[in-house]
């Protein structure tokens, strides 16, 4: 049963990966990437890494990919331009792919020679909580690295704001307080004009 699940999701994952690379529309690519993330989350579930699986869906699918889609939609990528040098770069690309395939094949072949170290780890019992274990490790033994990671995020925030936030001269912004406080005299000017005679 487990093997069936693994192969079904594995096939879906590979299909999604192929979809990311081959689809012509970048939005479709991003969608396939979402599918790839969700499918690999299921595979992690099989490995009993529940927490990581949920975080993958929440963080990558929920936040990162949505942001990514926004960027893709705003950028207005020209497909024709990106494909312009296809024939020129194709031979090099094919050579690189062939080498990678050969390397992967070699690794797989080497693994078949000696399989004893590939034993699956023993199953944990039903009450085992992945999240709890991670949490208890993170806040005890790894408290110091954990805090440091938080400081790094703080630096990232400070740096991002320092590098991007500025007051440009001539920027047109609304000042709500000013808008609310406006009086009739500021906006309306009464002009007395002579009445015109109707025809």
């Amino acid at each position: 049963m487990e093997a069936v699940i693994f192969y079904v999701f594995g096939a879906a994952l590979i299909a999604a990966g192929v979809g990311v690379v081959t689809s012509r529309n970048p939005v479709h690519s991003a969608m396939f990437l979402v599918l790839a993330f969700v499918t690999s989350a299921f595979l992690w579930m099989l490995l009993e890494a529940e927490f990581l699986a949920i975080v993958l869906v929440l963080v990558y699918v929920g936040a990162v990919m949505v942001l990514f889609l926004f960027v893709v939609m705003m950028l207005d990528v020209k497909i024709e331009q990106a494909r312009a040098g296809f024939t020129r770069y194709a031979p090099l690309g094919i050579a690189v792919v062939l080498i990678i395939v050969a390397q992967l094949g070699y690794v797989v072949w080497a693994r078949t020679q000696e399989m004893s170290f590939l034993q699956a780890p023993p199953r944990a019992d039903a009450g085992f909580s992945n999240t709890e274990l991670l949490g208890s490790q993170l806040y005890t033994d790894y408290a110091y690295p954990f805090e440091l990671a938080a400081v790094i995020l703080l630096v990232a925030i400070v740096a991002a704001i320092a590098l991007t936030m500025r007051k440009r001269p001539g920027l047109k912004v609304q000042d709500v307080a000013k808008q609310v406080q406006v009086r009739r005299e500021d906006r309306v000017r009464l002009v007395s004009m002579d009445a015109e005679k109707g025809e």
Binding site: S129, E132, L133, S136, Q137, T140, D141, Y142, A143, Y144, P145, L148, A149, V151, I152, L154, V155, A156, V158, A159, A162, L163, R166
Partner: protein
Amino acid sequence: MTVAESAFLIPDFAPAAAEIVVLFMACVVLVVDLFVSDRHRWITYGLCLLTLLMAAMATAMYVPRETVLTFSGTFVSDPLARVLKLFTYSVTAVVFLYSKDYLRERALFRGEYYLLGLFATLGIMVLISAHSMLTVYLGLELLSLSLYAMVAFSRDDPVAAESAMKYFILGAIASGCFLFGTSILYGVTGSLDLAEIRRAVATLDGLNIHLLFALSFILVGIGFKFGAVPFHMWVPDVYQGAPTSVTLFIGSAAKIGSLALLMRVLVEGLGGVQQSWGDMLLVLCILSMGIGNIVAIAQTNLKRMLGYSTISHVGFILMGFLVGTRQGIEAALYYTVAYVIMAAAAFGMILLLSRRGFEADELDDFRGLNARSRWFAGVMLVVMFSMAGVPPFLGFWAKLAVLGAAVDAGLTWLAVTGVIFSVIGAFYYLRIIKLMYFEEPSDTLSLGGGSDLKLVLSLNAALIVFLGVFPEGLISIFNQIVTTAP
């Protein structure tokens, strides 16, 4: 749950007192800076200097003098860490002081420069006290991220943006390499703890293929952070492109971080296979000394020239480490500290000569300096002589210590190579002295800069002379604090 139930003791916070002070104060500065108007920006500056002073007091008084491990073995406080941290505080304080007038004249006198500087200092401190590959990596990232942002700090300057981009991308690749090497090392030794790694490596053959694989990736990361050839491509561009006050920080304080990285990972963690990484460092060392010194001759931009000069000095520092004796490590530490003191003074001179809308970073800007200010021409003379390794200045003793260690370890040919490249390098240092004393000044304006900058810069030069005349004090400090040798 077995792990949750196992007894967990609250760790001892005293050894990390200085880190806690710096982090707390950095957060305070972050909030205070929001409410300070541009006219009162000196409050931020003062608070940052106060932070460094408080950290120094914490390190000197609260941190235990002996070697202590805390936070489940991820943090170590030993005599080496205390001395390097105290040195880091003083260098950072000097950097902040030198930068003040320069930043103010360029409308860059904002809280973020000092804040990022504090965070970078915290990164250096974490690196110095790291006792686990995880902490090493986090310290490295904390330092690097702050530096990337500092380089890009002058937002309207396209050159600064370009160099920040180069620094960021190359730095990310180097961090990736380091992390990849770390993961393989974890696979080989089964631990991230440096003491565990040391124990596990002792049982392995130095030519273990997986270990060598891990080692070469880790060395790429270290070589990049140091700026050793062939991982030096970012150094000249970043030195030239960054605002001079940031170059000053990268050239001085950040080098202590690189030193700590090498010290903790290679000497402490992988000391058992010194033979293996010594040979790799040998290549980096000779290439750095050669390319650094020869290419520096062709430079007309002083910041760029000092960048190449840094590369050549890094070659000397690596020479101390690669000989693999205790004496060599002491010499490398001594050389790094000496180099940081000299680099601070050299970039301080550029900052002193710069004015509003004018960077004194071309060699020609030093033409005829003697006619403009006899005193500061003398300061530059001391710095350049010391960098060239002319006795009786500090740089001479540093070079002597490293070369002596190499000769004692039977690497006489390496020492001779080092001397030859130093002689080649002396040319471009002496050229500046010739420009200052034997040529007519191109402009006759008197020097800018506040009296605090002038005073500290003079003290900095005086320190170079003093440590050159009385070198024993500094050497004996390093003699005492080096506890581990490969």
